[in-house]
């Protein structure tokens, strides 16, 4: 039992905040059950909802922990899988069986229906935590409900009364658990590591927080190989160009190809095409019948383009030990010169982000048949330029810890969206010349001054080649 106890303890050690919050939700649900028993039975439905919500979150955390625990070396620990199964049984009792039994005693639908539904919620959370896309299946329900709300309501009542619902939910839960857990419990050769600064936005962004990479699907492997080909092609081109004319611009391009392998023209085009495909599918599946505010779509496009910067911040930290090699290769006269070279190389991300945001906005304009496409595009260009400069600046000199970095990301994202809406309104109210001009002056002057200040600070700092603390 000691091993099971240790396994049960892991969420409290790895994700203590989540563990405390979710436990409070569970306790709250139990109190609600007690209250429902003595006062109002209808409240037990609320308690089941709380359990489902808490269970989903709890299992997202459990999935993340499982991803880290289930390394091949862990299977050398005696009866590792058996003990995992025991810990899972305790989990099942806490989050599925006990609430189902209590709610059944209180007169809610049959216990097995609630148990199957709660198991489904747990399986979906676990799938998300394990990094499997099966966890996104829940969105199919929401998409369907949003598409045909009346039919969804009818289906909901029919499902509540159908004897087939519970076995169907059970089967779905088992299928999701199988898809999520099988790769973790199978011993495979490790996937090769990718550069921390690669960005495909397709699940190979090195954002695993130290967890082992899951085996990639055939589709992801093919896309990854396409991106790698573009990186190699761009590097070859840069080398060729540098050999022919070894100037500072060619040298900078070469550094960019090394630092940002997936930010070459071909890779950018490929990324845009892929995102456009996914967004179009999502749009037609989810929102084509609804009216969407153009400003929301534009702000969302800008936000999507800015997601590159948090990954850059994490990647630069992880790259630090390897950057020593670059430092020695470049052999700069001063450390400030090296820092400047890096900052200059990374500055390419600003036009890349603007281009990306413009492409996404154009797609949004086409999909929602926006009434003011020029207004959206103008706002996008100005806001994304300023926001990219700020985002790059804060990731160059910003906080190192994950909490501080997360906070900065939230501030940048929300600030950008607010600026977008403000700018959109300003252009609408004052026209392109005055409104646009005012926004251009305010946003760009802010962005450029933040960037120059950050660049100066970055050059003042000594280069750091220490590996980041895990």
């Amino acid at each position: 039992m000691k091993a099971v106890w240790q396994l049960w303890l892991q969420p409290w050690k790895k994700v203590p905040v989540l563990a405390v919050l979710v436990s409070l939700i569970w306790l709250g649900a139990m109190v609600t059950f007690c209250f429902a028993a003595s006062h109002q039975v209808k409240l037990s439905a609320l308690a089941v909802g709380m359990i489902a919500f808490g269970s989903w979150f709890w299992h997202v955390g459990q999935g993340q922990i499982l991803r880290e625990l289930c390394r091949p070396e862990s299977f050398l620990m005696p009866y590792f899988t058996r003990r995992l199964a025991c810990a899972a049984a305790i989990n099942l009792t806490q989050w599925v069986l006990l609430p189902a039994c209590i709610s059944s005693l209180l007169g809610l639908p049959p216990a097995w229906l609630i148990a199957a539904a709660l198991l489904c919620a747990a399986a979906l959370g676990l799938a998300i935590g394990c990094g499997r896309r099966a966890g996104l299946l829940i969105w199919l329900l929401f998409i369907g409900a949003g598409w045909m709300p009346q039919l969804a309501a009818q289906a909901w009542y029919a499902a509540l009364n159908s004897p087939l619902t519970a076995p169907l939910l059970l089967l779905i839960a088992i299928l999701i658990l199988h898809i999520s857990l099988r790769p973790l419990l199978r011993i495979d050769d490790r996937e090769t590591e990718a550069s921390p600064l690669e960005s495909m936005n397709l699940g190979r962004t090195n954002d695993t927080g130290g967890a082992p990479r899951l085996p990639r699907s055939a589709f992801n492997k093919r896309i990854g190989s396409l991106f790698d080909h573009t990186s190699q092609w761009a590097l070859d081109q840069a080398l060729h160009s540098y050999r022919q004319r070894p100037g500072s611009a060619q040298r900078l391009t070469l550094i960019r190809r090394l630092l940002l392998p997936h930010d070459n023209p071909l890779a950018i085009a490929l990324r845009l095409a892929l995102v456009a495909c996914f967004v179009t599918i999502y749009f037609f599946a989810a929102i084509h019948r609804q009216h969407f505010n153009a400003a929301v779509v534009g702000a969302y496009a800008t936000m999507l383009a800015l997601t590159r910067f948090p990954q850059l911040g994490r990647g630069m930290q992880r790259m630090r030990p390897n950057l020593a090699d670059l430092y020695l290769t470049l052999a700069p006269t001063t450390q400030a010169q090296y820092q400047k070279t890096l900052a200059d190389a990374l500055l390419i991300l600003v036009p890349v982000s603007v281009l990306t945001a413009v492409a996404y906005t154009l797609l949004g304009i086409v999909l929602v048949h926006a009434a003011e496409p020029v207004q959206m595009l103008t706002t996008t260009i100005i806001v994304t330029t300023a926001a990219s400069l700020v985002a790059l600046a804060v990731h160059l000199i910003g906080p190192e810890g994950s909490f501080g970095r997360g906070l900065v990301n939230v501030v940048v994202i929300f600030g950008t969206m607010a600026t977008y809406w403000g700018g959109y309104w300003l252009i609408g109210a004052l026209g392109y010349v005055f409104g646009g001009g005012l926004m251009l002056i305010i946003a760009l002057s802010f962005g450029i001054s933040v960037w120059f200040a950050a660049q100066r600070e970055y050059q003042r700092r000594r280069p750091c080649f220490d590996a980041p603390v895990a």
């Binding site: 000691k2 050690k13 880290e68 299977f75 005696p78 009866y79 590792f80 899988t81 003990r83 895990a470």
Partner: protein, 311 residues
């Protein structure tokens, strides 16, 4: 001069170790393993008797890590059979896991855990866990139990991996270049612990390393992995006894090496002809020296010399 393909390695028979009374700890037959199209292990046959220290030698990329991981079921194999403690090793499972300790080449597990929490976590899975040994090693190897694994240096992580591997007092200890990241003090301390462990009956160690001095200190049996096969497994003392480095020197130099019985490798360096020979016939060599008008010098090669010549 002979080429690698021509070396008469076959004279050093595989599995030439005298078998102990008890069943072998490990038996491998026709083991094959490839990564995509690159074949790393080609039909490996290998038997490791109980109670021995085996030093697995091989050049970089020879497949030592792959072989060790395959033996423990940590890497899927393409073909062949592995038996560990008399049972087929299809997956790492069962009671025998209590008897196995493993130190991976690089330890990157659970960076969020603290050292003490990691050891407590692991100890919970084992029926035997030497807590006093753990405490003593943490103290003498200056590992702070309150530090997170992610904050440890590579060498400290390696020390932690060693503590974790030997604390359950395993019957089979598999170590994949365990001392590569250790400082000389830690290396010596580790070797002392290893030798202490080996004093207990029935303990077996398979140990891949490039530091041949450690294998000499442990009086290990040497297994050489080359071209995807175990070329030989022989006790170090036997290797020392039968291998000789013969140096024939003459002013006019050498065009090619003469044919000599038991020749494993020949090198020409200026006026010196160096011959690595197994079980040399001294009378024949003296006759050859006289015939060639050369002086004869006989040396006992170190393990490192043997590794350089044979691997």
């Amino acid at each position: 001069m002979s080429t690698p393909a021509e070396w008469p390695i076959a004279i050093a028979k595989p599995n030439a170790l005298p078998l102990a009374d008890e069943a072998p700890v490990l038996r491998v037959a026709a083991l094959r393993k490839s990564f995509e199209k690159r074949q790393v292990l080609r039909a490996i046959d290998w038997t490791v008797p109980a109670g021995r220290v085996i030093g697995l030698l091989g050049r970089n990329g020879a497949g030592k890590t792959t072989l060790l991981r395959c033996l423990l079921g940590l890497s899927p194999i393409d073909g062949g059979k592995i038996e560990l403690f008399g049972e087929p090793m299809i997956e790492p499972a069962g009671e025998r896991m209590h008897r196995i300790g493993f130190v991976p080449q690089s330890f990157d597990l659970f960076p969020w855990m603290k050292v003490r929490a990691y050891l407590d976590f692991t100890a919970a899975f084992y029926t035997h866990w030497d807590h006093p040994l753990t405490t003593r090693l943490l103290d003498s190897w200056q590992l702070d139990p309150r530090q997170k694994i992610g904050q440890l240096s590579q060498g400290q992580r390696q020390k932690l991996a060693i503590v974790r591997a030997i604390a359950p007092q395993p019957d089979l200890l598999v170590l994949d270049e365990p001392v590569a990241s250790l400082d000389p003090q830690a290396r010596r301390a580790f070797m002392a612990e290893l030798l202490e462990l080996m004093r207990q009956p029935g303990k077996t160690v398979i140990f891949s390393t490039h530091i041949t001095a450690d294998l000499e200190r442990a009086e290990a049996d040497i297994a050489l992995l080359r071209d995807g096969r175990i070329q030989f497994t022989r006790p170090l003392a036997e290797l020392r006894e039968c291998m000789r480095l013969i140096v024939l020197s003459r002013a006019e130099g050498w065009v090619q090496a003469p044919a000599v019985a038991g020749l494993l490798k020949a090198n020409i360096k200026g006026g010196d002809l160096q011959l690595l020979i197994e079980n040399p016939d001294m009378q024949n060599l003296q006759a050859l020296a006289a015939q060639s008008n050369a002086s004869l010098r006989i040396e006992t090669p170190t393990l490192e010399d043997l590794f350089v010549e044979l691997a």
